[in-house]
């Protein structure tokens, strides 16, 4: 890195075409950024490669069995899940973001931040509350039967495809909501008003101006939601709904066949990769940039029926996704209060410190990737970005095994080498430490951090960089003094998203945590895996409380 990066370099032409990697001369900063991106991609690729390496062994017996019995249903279920959750999260996330940013109606001020709260609730928790309350044996159906004297035959089923889609949508819409909200805030009123003044009606202005401008952010939110839906294990198992994840678990735990499990996982990975590539193809080449803060003080004041409808919509979602399940959880937790002891202090500390460490690490990496891609990228950087953000689509435990296998292998070779040199066996020094855990979080959540960082980078006008350069700022100075401050909201959003996601994360934490490093999610697992959901409400509520702090921070920082 010596002094190559310092000072404005005339040979650096990338400023002419930001984002579009057309480069005439290859400059030193380009090389540095690209290599940084490649290194990051490799660190994610290694555990993925362990998974893909499973195709070296092929068990035809298991595959013909899977193909004839479970695979067709699996593909169909996966299709419905993606279609349903995709539709649902867009239907909730985008309009709610639009209403709270651009309009005014009763309750808007509260809903504006409160609609992010469901993000703190893990999917498996909502799933259990949902089924517990609404299933045949639950209080709702039981109460109705008792009240109306209906026969037991009268019932409705909630443990089915619409049920799963509903729960996933309620848990995952905040991704779309948060990212769309930031995008709409960034646009301000001016773009929309320009559309209006050019003769577009309110709907047309929304669909033809505001929405296309917010599209990168909406897509980023949507892909996070869908990847999480595909990788989810906890919620789908409460519904006994078969997806790739459950099949992966079954091959692994049932057949004890990690190979087939990994092969199933790599099919899942391929589906996601194809979807991402297709999305990129269809995305317009157009770039939208912020033109400064548009005054949001002139919100459209909704009147009469419209105001009531908007209000009901917002409160309804908040009630279903957050208020009702939290009340249910709290009453359960109250009953399990005798479990509360001093160890919860440790659990808090572990949960938080892992989240913070992973957040800082992941966001830094996401910034490097996004910056390299936008300003110094070539095809290999684009590929690096694709690879680095794949980890989120894999079920956490599969990725965790990938990390564990590769790290343990490296660790063993390291110990072999030391033993050969010194004659002493130093044992395994990396696996079983926080390093292993952080590697897994990093590989899994880089996508979560990348979305907000990249979409806020996209909204910075290239001219700003040129201005900084023309004022004599060097490469690193521009990054440090111009980009980082401008990106602060995006970086913060990314960090807090990762923080909350890491705190909710279960399978990788279970497999890779050092002795004694239990977190709240581990505690939840201990109880739920034995079916003691009501006792698990206590750590679940604790997790919710810890998770709400960053979510509220997120809200305050992103409010203007």
């Amino acid at each position: 890195m010596r002094d190559e990066g310092r000072g404005p370099s005339l040979s650096d032409t990338s400023t002419l075409a930001p984002g579009a990697p057309v480069l005439v001369v290859r400059s030193a900063p380009d090389r540095t950024w690209r290599w940084a991106a490649r290194l990051l991609a490799i660190s994610v690729l290694i555990p993925l490669a362990v998974i893909l390496g499973s195709w070296l062994f092929f068990d035809p017996e298991i595959w013909s069995h899977l193909g004839t019995t479970v695979l067709p249903r699996l593909l169909l279920n996966t299709f419905w899940l993606v279609a349903g959750v995709g539709f649902g999260t867009l239907l909730l996330g985008v309009p709610l973001a639009w209403l709270t940013v651009m309009c005014d109606f009763p309750g808007r001020r509260i809903l504006d931040w409160a609609l992010m709260l469901p993000f703190a609730l893990p999917a498996y928790v909502l799933a259990f509350v949902f089924v517990g309350v609404l299933d045949f044996a639950g209080p709702l159906q039981g109460g109705l039967r008792g009240l109306l004297g209906l026969p037991p035959a009268w019932s409705f089923e909630v443990r089915n495809t619409p049920g799963v889609i509903t729960v996933m949508t309620l848990v995952l819409y905040p991704y779309v909501y948060m990212l769309a909200r930031v995008a709409f805030l960034g646009q301000g009123q001016s773009a929309y008003e320009a559309g209006r003044s050019l003769g577009l009606g309110p709907w047309a202005a929304f669909f033809r101006v505001s929405l296309p401008m917010a599209r990168p952010a909406v897509i980023a939110g949507l892909s996070l939601a869908l990847m999480e839906a595909l990788a989810d294990f906890g919620a789908v198992s409460v519904f006994n709904f078969d997806t790739f994840t459950t099949a992966i678990y079954k091959s692994w735990f049932g057949f004890f066949d990690l190979q087939s499990a990994a092969q199933l996982a790599s099919i899942l990975l391929t589906i996601v990769l194809v979807a991402l590539v297709v999305e990129r193809r269809f995305r317009d080449r157009a770039r939208f940039t912020e033109s400064g803060r548009g005054g949001t003080q002139r919100r459209m004041r909704l009147q009469g029926g419209r105001a009531i409808a908007a209000s009901l919509f917002g409160w309804g979602v908040l009630f279903l996704a957050f208020a009702a399940p939290v009340v249910r959880l709290t009453t359960w937790a109250w009953g399990a209060l005798e479990d509360l002891d001093l160890r919860y202090l440790d659990l808090f500390v572990h949960t938080l410190s892992l989240g913070v460490m992973a957040g800082v690490l992941t966001v830094s990496a996401a910034f490097v990737l996004a910056f390299a891609h936008r300003y110094h990228g070539d095809y290999s950087t684009a590929l690096s970005v694709r690879i680095s953000t794949l980890g989120y689509a894999l079920p956490g435990s599969v990725l965790a095994v990938g990390v564990m296998l590769s790290l343990t292998w490296f660790d063993n070779r390291l110990a072999d080498a030391v033993e050969w040199l010194s004659g002493e066996d130093m044992g395994l020094v990396l696996s079983g430490t926080v390093v292993a855990l952080l590697m897994a979080y990093f590989a899994r959540f880089l996508a979560v951090a990348y979305g907000p960082v990249d979409s806020s980078l996209e909204r910075i006008r290239p001219s700003i960089r040129d201005a900084a350069r023309s004022l004599g700022a060097g490469q690193w100075e521009t990054v440090w003094r111009v980009y980082l401050p401008m990106l602060r909201p995006g970086l913060l959003t990314a960090g807090l998203l990762v923080l909350v996601d890491v705190m909710k994360e279960m399978p990788a934490t279970l497999l890779l945590r050092p002795f004694g490093w239990d977190t709240l999610a581990v505690r939840i697992y201990e109880l739920t895996s034995e079916g003691e959901w009501e006792r698990a409400a206590l750590p679940a509520v604790a997790l919710l409380v810890v998770g709400l702090v960053p979510v509220i921070l997120l809200v305050r920082k992103s409010a203007h």
């Binding site: 044996a137 037991p152 696996s431």
Partner: protein
């Protein structure tokens, strides 16, 4: 970056002390923390040996043991279900143990013939029925639940749960695959609702009137009974006129590359002893494996039964076949 790796190595070394100051045992456990910690605390009080542990599912723990190879820090693996124990033994991570004490404390069908794992508590999987809509004389065996007279009256937990896989594996061992598949198909045809995610939910469905009978591990029934003493459900010991009721175990073995093999063996022996067995099984309302130890009062009140004496290694061996069978039969 290199400084980061260096410091990581240093920290890692500190976290993995090689020096053995006090005697120690390292345990990987698929049995939950709240069920093992009180015992470990007691062991430390009695012997001064401290025990560090991590808990996870059996699959990931086994994978980790295998990947770590001869450098694993783990001295002991505790897990539930014969299938998991069988796989652990088969993958070569457990040492063969020759302990007269363990052989005396654990009945032969509840341990590995080669001494690689030993059952520590017995879990019985049997029927729970609605006392309002079913009389005990209508019930007889697992096989009978496939009879059309139970159409629309049966609730089951998902086939993804290892307990059901072992139960079906035992059916295969008893009847052969063809007959076993007929039985499972009969169950599926009789289901009143899609399979449930856990035993408690299935019992609550029986109580609420969605169905009349289900198959569960007894300790789940015990827990429910403790919470709702007047619940209108009862246990029925299955197959008393034939093979005996299906039993499974939670168990443990000493790892092949244990750093403290003697300490681990002593801990295992202690866990099977009279002093520890009552608490090991009792804390989860399971049955002690040690025949000289009486079960917890609640558990004893359920009465005596004849248990299936199939060696649990068989259930482990047939587990994969059982899963395939249930997939074919459409049991989700």
């Amino acid at each position: 970056m290199s400084r980061f790796i260096l410091s990581a190595v240093v920290v890692g070394t500190m976290l993995n002390p090689i020096t053995v100051l006090a005697e120690e045992v390292v345990v990987y456990s698929a049995r939950k923390e709240h069920l093992i910690k009180p015992l470990f605390d007691r062991y430390k009080q009695e012997t001064g040996v401290s025990i560090s542990y991590i808990t996870d599912k059996a699959g990931p723990l086994l994978q980790r043991l295998r990947a770590e190879g001869k450098r694993t820090p783990a001295d002991m693996l505790i897990t539930v279900d014969a299938g998991n124990l069988w796989h652990a033994a088969g993958s070569g991570v457990l040492a063969e143990l020759d302990s007269p004490l363990l052989d005396a404390n654990v009945p032969a069908n509840l341990r590995d013939p080669k001494g690689r794992w030993f059952g520590l508590s017995e879990r019985v999987r049997t029927m729970v029925y609605s006392t309002e809509r079913v009389t005990p004389d209508q019930l007889s065996s697992y096989e009978d639940l496939a009879d059309p007279k139970w159409k629309g009256r049966l609730c089951l937990r998902t086939s993804k749960k290892v307990y059901n896989q072992s139960l079906v594996a035992a059916l295969i061992a008893r009847h052969g695959e063809e007959k076993a598949e007929q039985i499972v198909r009969g169950w599926v045809a009789n289901l009143a609702a899609a399979p449930f995610s856990n035993d408690t939910k299935a019992m609550q469905a029986v109580e609420a009137g969605q169905c009349d009978v289900t198959i569960v591990n007894t300790y789940y029934f015990g827990r429910l009974q403790r919470k709702q003493p007047d619940i209108k459900l009862a246990l029925f010991w299955a197959n008393q006129g034939s093979s005996g009721v299906h039993v499974n175990v939670s168990g443990a073995g000493v790892t092949r590359h244990a750093k403290h093999p003697d300490a681990a063996r002593k801990l295992l022996e202690w866990l099977s002893s009279e002093t520890a067995q009552a608490e090991f099984a009792g804390s989860n309302m399971e049955f002690p494996v040690n025949p000289r130890v009486a079960p917890d009062a609640t558990v004893a009140a359920w009465g005596d039964f004849k248990a299936d004496e199939l060696n649990l290694n068989e259930a482990g061996r047939l587990q994969a076949a059982a899963i395939r069978l249930m997939d074919r039969a459409g049991y989700r």
